[in-house]
């Protein structure tokens, strides 16, 4: 017993479950996030028909456009997988390359969302126009903030890897960001289906 429990756990070995603390922590956090989006999606589903004097969902959604940006976000999950695979092979160049691509695809999605919000605003759907507007901007806005945080994490990680400043296990850090990224992606699949594809 030269080493100790704390010491082991720090580097992801010999925990009681065999899972590293960081990974288990991330899974728990994502479990909690499910309830956050659950609450927001429920609120939207209750309010999506309450348009008041404002535009109806069908009038402001540009489904082809959002489909393309959704496709971009889905592809970013693929590049994230490639980044994790490269990190596990200790291939720093590949890791930073795919992390950068993932970050840029994510940024493209956020840019698309900004464009979409602007277009909707110009068509008369403000945040306070109707309950539908408030609930829509709140739900998709929360998701957009999550993607933005993810993009910042990805690009920061690129910088940190390039300067060799990653504390702990590099491959695991990339994987943790990957878990978060895939989660945000999956949530978008649900939001896209419920908000855009199912008619009111």
């Amino acid at each position: 017993m030269v080493d100790t429990a704390v010491h082991h756990a720090e580097y992801g070995h010999h925990t009681s479950t065999g899972l590293s603390n960081n990974k288990l922590g991330m899974w728990l956090f994502l479990g909690s996030e499910c309830l956050l989006f659950g609450g927001l999606i429920s609120t939207y589903m209750i309010y999506r028909g309450r348009v008041g004097e404002g535009p109806r969902p069908g009038n402001v959604f540009d489904i082809p456009f959002t489909s393309v940006s959704s496709f971009v976000l889905l592809m970013s999950s693929l590049t994230m997988v490639l980044a994790v695979a490269a990190a596990q092979k200790r291939d720093d160049r590949g890791t930073t390359l795919w992390l950068t691509v993932t970050g840029l695809l994510g940024a493209t999605f956020v840019g698309g969302q900004v464009y979409e919000f602007t277009a909707m605003y110009n068509e008369g759907l403000g945040f306070t126009t109707s309950l539908f507007g408030s609930a829509f901007y709140t739900l998709t806005g929360f998701h957009g903030v999550h993607v933005t945080v993810g993009v910042i994490m990805l690009l920061s990680l690129v910088g940190i890897i390039k300067r060799s400043r990653v504390p702990g296990d590099k491959a695991e850090v990339v994987e943790l960001v990957g878990l978060y990224w895939h989660f945000v992606d999956i949530v978008w699949i649900i939001i896209f289906t419920l908000v855009y594809l199912i008619p009111t």
Binding site: T4, A5, V6, S16, G25, F29, Y47
Partner: protein, 664 residues
């Protein structure tokens, strides 16, 4: 400090502080103080954080208590003018908010922080810096919630803040904004704490400690942390929607703008009902430790206590709408939630039976802790029974928003949660501070609290069923009724009871003060305890255990002290706590790495209240807060939680007898 020296032999002078990390990470060097206020403010030690959680919670207990006494003084006489209607509204809102979010939850977190790692034989929690962050976040949230008293009036919509009371028409001050944002911040503290403690319990158990060998307190804390993990995000959504409504003009809860009047109620109670188990299960855990120790028997039916705790955790998600029976949910919903609510009484009843059977036939030792534990069993049962009457929907519609409800939840929260916490104070005080609280004062403390609480909350059953509405701020003699049901008489009784309660709590504070001044050191194992946290010095060393114990039994410490004679089947003492601790010291682990202190948790936490103030007053201030948060996150990420060995000063002594971090 980061690296631990070999423990000094008994009687020898303490060794100087360990060597210090020298490398700079990001913008700031690591804090290295081992004494003074810096060693507390920047600590990541779960024990120091536990004590700080306890101190802050105690402060808010006093604040919430003063608010309660003011409420009772206002109702002590007809047409009273102690508080105006407006201030009265703020008082009961803040009393409940303070007691729930700033006393019981942080105090349970104090016990969890301090004792969960010790009970599972770990040296710290899984994420020590997140632990420190959680504490400072709680402090920031508590300040924001209470700051409203000085900035135009506190929140006044009741602790569940139903619309339209939460809207600007009925609550024009900034109180509700402070309330929503402050609770948002304390929610972050609870959420990070939940992730941290779940990972700690699942991942950091000592070798041999399977889940079913864990102490019950740790088990029930695990259930509580899962409840927090899934309940907090729901209130987060509700509070965001409320803040967006009040600060940015949305109309989520404004019925006149077409909103659903029940949306807030559903979101609030989906959080709110698990919340009541979040409040009471830690206390159940505490008395499940206290009762066996002072009955000299193992806990009766350990697996039943564990699984009924988990069952409460599951069923607790399916009963929230019993808070809303009067809102016209429709017969199907009412029937489903009514039955689910009755069902949850079953696992709770299982626990009561288990505790009773634990005491049954035991060699009872009536210490102050035991008094409080038995007090919990009795008082919580009364509160539980009145709770079952709420499950019956037709009866509940008569009770809704009357003092009968107030009586019920004070029996379960005061008689349940708070009595359990007091049992914990008296039981674990010698462990945390190395000194025992005075038992005689403790028993006086108990009796005054029992008498006070029954006088205060007992009569509320009667006046509630007679129809006195909850939150009524004034009453007149002319309409008080006659005879036994004169609500004036019973309100006076309740107010006198609240003063007796106050004296009881004061006795506790006097006891703490006297104990702090006393020089008398507690024995190592004053209660002949059963679980791992007693298998180390009191107070425990920074690294908790010199050698991490290998666990073979439930109640491992008991099994190391006692063994059954194979012929006579008598239980005989084979070892003492002193022997066991001495043996551990002799076989101490070498080279213990402990997590290093950090500036980042408190810096990160300090950004959140700034954001809250910015949202209320001026958005640029919020941006400053956000910048603090982002910078702190970067500083945090670049700093390894445990300083590597290469970062430390060279050995302090030339001859090599005191090498880097030797232990053993």
């Amino acid at each position: 400090m980061a690296i631990i020296e070999r423990p000094a032999p008994v009687g020898a002078p303490a060794l100087p502080a360990p060597v210090t990390p020298t490398r700079t990470y990001g913008a700031l060097r690591r804090p290295v103080a081992t004494t003074g206020w810096k060693s507390w403010v920047f600590t990541v030690d779960h024990k120091k954080l536990g004590i700080m959680y306890g101190a802050v919670a105690m402060f808010f207990f006093i604040v919430g208590g003063i608010e309660a006494v003011l409420i009772r003084l206002q109702l002590a006489a007809p047409d009273n003018k102690v508080l105006t209607a407006d201030v009265y509204n703020q008082m009961f809102t803040m009393h409940a908010t303070t007691m729930v979010f700033l006393f019981v939850m942080p105090m349970a977190a104090a016990f969890a922080n301090y004792f969960v790692p010790l009970q599972i034989g770990a040296r710290d929690v899984a994420f020590p810096r997140i632990n420190a962050f959680g504490f400072w976040t709680l402090v920031g949230g508590g300040i924001i919630v209470n700051l409203s008293w000085f900035l135009g009036g506190a929140a006044d919509g009741g602790w569940f803040m139903y619309a339209p009371n939460s809207g600007p028409v009925f609550s024009p001050s900034n109180g509700v904004d402070f309330w929503a944002l402050g609770l948002q911040i304390t929610g972050i503290a609870s959420l990070t704490g939940a992730v941290n403690l779940i990972v700690t319990v699942l991942n950091m158990r000592a070798p041999g400690m399977s889940l079913m060998k864990m102490p019950v307190f740790t088990w029930l804390q695990l259930v509580v942390q899962f409840l927090l993990l899934f309940a907090i995000p729901v209130i987060t959504v509700a509070l965001f929607l409320l803040s967006f409504q009040r600060s940015f003009g949305a109309t989520f809860f404004d019925v006149s703008a077409g909103a659903d009047p029940l949306l807030w109620q559903h979101l609030f109670w989906i959080f709110g009902h698990p919340e009541v188990y979040i409040l009471v299960l830690p206390s159940f855990g505490i008395i499940s430790e206290v009762l066996p120790v002072f009955s000299k028997k193992p806990l009766f039916g350990y697996p039943f206590v564990v699984f009924s705790g988990a069952a409460i955790g599951f069923v607790g998600w399916g009963v929230w709408a019993h808070h809303m029976f009067a809102s016209g949910l429709g017969p199907v919903s009412v029937a489903v939630f009514s039955i689910a609510t009755m069902a949850i009484a079953v696992p709770t009843g299982v626990k009561i039976i288990n505790w009773t059977m634990t005491i049954w036939g035991g060699k009872l030792n009536f210490t102050a802790a035991m008094h409080f534990a038995i007090g919990l069993v009795v008082l919580f049962t009364i509160g539980g029974l009145s709770g079952v009457t709420h499950a019956v929907a037709p009866s509940d519609t008569q009770q809704t928003d009357t003092y009968y409800i107030v009586a019920h939840f004070h029996y379960v929260l005061f008689g349940g949660a708070i009595f359990g916490l007091f049992a914990g104070f008296y039981y674990w005080w010698p462990k945390v501070f190395g000194k025992q609280l005075n038992e005689r004062l403790g028993k006086a403390n108990f009796w005054l609290m029992v008498i006070g609480m029954n006088l205060t909350f007992g009569p509320m059953h009667m006046i509630g069923l007679q129809g006195q509405p909850r939150r009524m701020y004034i009453w007149t003699e002319a309409r008080a009724g006659e005879g036994l049901f004169n609500l004036g008489f019973w309100n006076r009784v309740a107010s006198i009871g609240s003063l007796i309660l106050t004296v009881g709590v004061l006795l506790f504070l006097i006891n703490v003060w006297k104990t702090a001044r006393s020089k008398q050191v507690a024995p190592l194992d004053p209660w002949d305890a059963r679980t791992l946290e007693w298998m180390t010095t009191s107070p425990p060393k920074e690294h908790n255990f010199d050698a991490i114990p290998t666990v073979r039994h439930l109640d491992e410490f008991f099994h190391r002290k006692y063994a059954q004679d194979s012929v006579t089947h008598e239980i005989k003492q084979v070892s003492t706590a002193e022997d066991i601790v001495r043996d551990q010291e002799a076989n101490a682990d070498k080279h213990i790495h402990m997590p290093s202190p950090s500036y980042w948790p408190i810096i990160l936490a300090s950004g959140l209240p700034v954001i809250a103030l910015g949202v209320i007053y001026a958005i640029p201030v919020a941006i400053v807060g956000a910048v603090i948060v982002v910078l702190a996150l970067f500083g945090w990420s670049l700093e390894p939680s445990t300083a590597p060995e290469t970062d430390f000063d060279p050995p302090a002594s030339e001859d090599g007898t005191k090498e880097l971090a030797p232990l053993g």
